[in-house]
């Protein structure tokens, strides 16, 4: 379970960043996330929807302890992300569209590496690795170096790395971006499996069809503000436009009419 309370994150801009942003930026600070609160329950897919630059990745990075909140708090399975970072990470899996693998290591070595870093004992690690390799069909290329793998093969290894320590909370940050249809389908299936396994799943995306397929709970984040937070079924029932895309644009326009 993830509980986020009054979470904010601001970044100080360097002179170079200010220059790059031109007139779009006033002042020295960017407020990436503004005072948001939400709860993600186990056995449900919590979907964070928003355009690029809305603050989705910043929020997920704070959940994963990569970034520290400017204010507010995040509690993951009873552990505060600032005070108990290690415990949070032990309970957490993090998957992005970029596979982020080591080209000169084999899948076997990669999974051993992350399993050991996550504090797994050798017996559990080898058993869990075998289960995942069976499930994902990694055995046939388990001892070849990752460098020359196809995107699909890399994504399988990336999934195994995320799930090796059997995390109770799984964070997906735009996990299908840049993937082909087959690789993307394996991610969708993984998210469904996590839900069946009663894990807490938080999925960040800007792809409406994924929201439609997977979401139990929905939060829409726009320019750092949470403009919707509730059940996805309620959201659909309350839609004033015919499609999700149109409804999303309408809400964003309502929130900041001058920009859309």
């Amino acid at each position: 379970m993830i509980t986020i309370t009054n979470l904010s994150k601001s970044f100080q801009l360097s002179r170079q960043q200010k220059k790059e942003m031109g007139n779009a930026q006033h002042g020295d600070t960017v407020h990436a996330v503004k005072n948001i609160s939400l709860t993600c329950q186990p056995g449900r897919v919590f979907t964070l929807l928003g355009p690029n630059g809305a603050g989705k990745t910043t929020t997920l990075r704070m959940i994963a302890t990569i970034l520290k909140p400017t204010s507010g708090s995040i509690v993951v399975n009873g552990y505060d992300t600032v005070a108990n970072g290690k415990e949070v990470r032990q309970n957490l899996g993090f998957l992005t569209g970029s596979t982020g693998l080591y080209d000169r290591l084999t899948p076997d070595e990669t999974i051993n590496y992350f399993g050991r870093l996550n504090g797994m004992d050798e017996t559990t690690l080898q058993r869990r690795k075998k289960e995942l390799f069976d499930l994902l069909g990694i055995h046939e290329f388990a001892h070849r170096r990752v460098g020359k793998f196809s995107t699909g093969m890399k994504q399988k290894v990336s999934i195994a790395r995320t799930m090796i320590h059997d995390p109770q909370v799984v964070v997906f940050d735009e996990p299908t971006s840049g993937l082909d249809v087959i690789a993307a389908k394996s991610i969708i299936e993984l998210i469904r499996q996590c839900k069946r396994d009663n894990k807490t799943v938080i999925l960040s995306t800007h792809i409406m069809s994924e929201v439609n397929m997977l979401a139990d709970d929905l939060a829409i984040i726009y320019r750092g503000d949470l403009i919707y937070n509730g059940l996805f079924t309620d959201f659909k029932q309350g839609m004033r436009e015919a499609t999700l895309e149109d409804e999303f644009i309408r809400m964003a326009q309502e929130h900041e009419p001058a920009i859309i």
Binding site: A64, R89, Q90, L92, Y102, F114, R116, L117
Partner: protein, 402 residues
Amino acid sequence: MKNIFTIFSKEIKDILRDKRTLTVMLLIPLVVYPAIFIGITKYMTAQNEKAVAETLRIGIISNGNQSDFETFVSTMPNTKISAISDTTAAKEAILSDSIDVAYFFPEGFDSAVAKLQGTGFQYFYTSTNNEFEVAIVENINTVYKQALVKKKLAQIEVSETVLEPAKSISRNLASAREQLGSVIGGILPYFFIIFCMIGCMYPAIDLAAGEKERGSLETLLVSSASRIEIYTGKLMTVALSGFLSAMASIVGLIISGQIIGSDTASGDEMGQIAKVLADILEPGSIIMMLVILLPLNIFFAAITLMLSIYARTFKEAQSMITPLMILIVFPTIIGMLPGVTLDYTTALIPILNVSLGAKEIISGTIETGPLLLTYAALFVYAAIALIISVRFFNNEKNILRG
């Protein structure tokens, strides 16, 4: 601690599989540089031998003088004498490479010498002649003039000692190690400082900026390993790589020194230098140098890792770290200059203190005070670099800059 070891082992495995890093870290200092060193020495030796065996072709314009110059030159080995009619013919012969040098004796040269009237002869050559020919010609001139003086003194029955009533005899108390060590001792630190830096450079770029660019750093940060464990594992890898590279450069130099030294044909200056280089590296000196190398190694590892963490991409890290080489080469070269010694001031200047310290360790002239100050300064600089580097790694702005 377990996580540090896990990260360290993985990073070592990773860099050992990277051909580019391996080439720069081990192959170049261990094989390429010694091969170049041996090649140059062999080439110089061969050129020397060739020059010594070559015949010096001398043309003489005697102008009717019966001087004993011709007799004198004919006693010298590898000389061939020919008569030339005038200076125009002499110049043509030199420019067309028919002769190497032409001597012109003016009319009345013999009688002027006999009467001590003061006269002279000219010799023509081109400055593009090789240095061995020039040296032989200058030697002929000196010895010939000395022979004229001796002959005249004998005629007037005056002892040769009139020319040098008192001789000055120098007795150099410096040992062979001190004399040669002060000259060639600068070469060794130059090699190990440069290779220590190069050895740190590539793994540092790959392990921080490279990981950031590939997206693997983010996944590593989400593992249970703490940030300081990740940093330490990476720093240890970078430092070990720099250390191995520096050691490889020392081993490479020793091996090439032994190869050249064992070659009987290399009795020349280069061969002797190489032989001494191999001889003076006894275990005590090596241990003292390793103690200097260790903090320097950490200093380099911390700085390269810090810049690499800050860089957005592999390329940006390369362009940030490469100019550092100039900052390192400069004090290293200063340390090679004669007259620059390790004292309480130079011991505080990073890199220069290593260069000078190693030079004096090799030549055996190191003093305890400046050496201890060098160690202390290096450990302090390494600690400062480490603290700044850790802070860089812990700063989320740097780690996610991209």
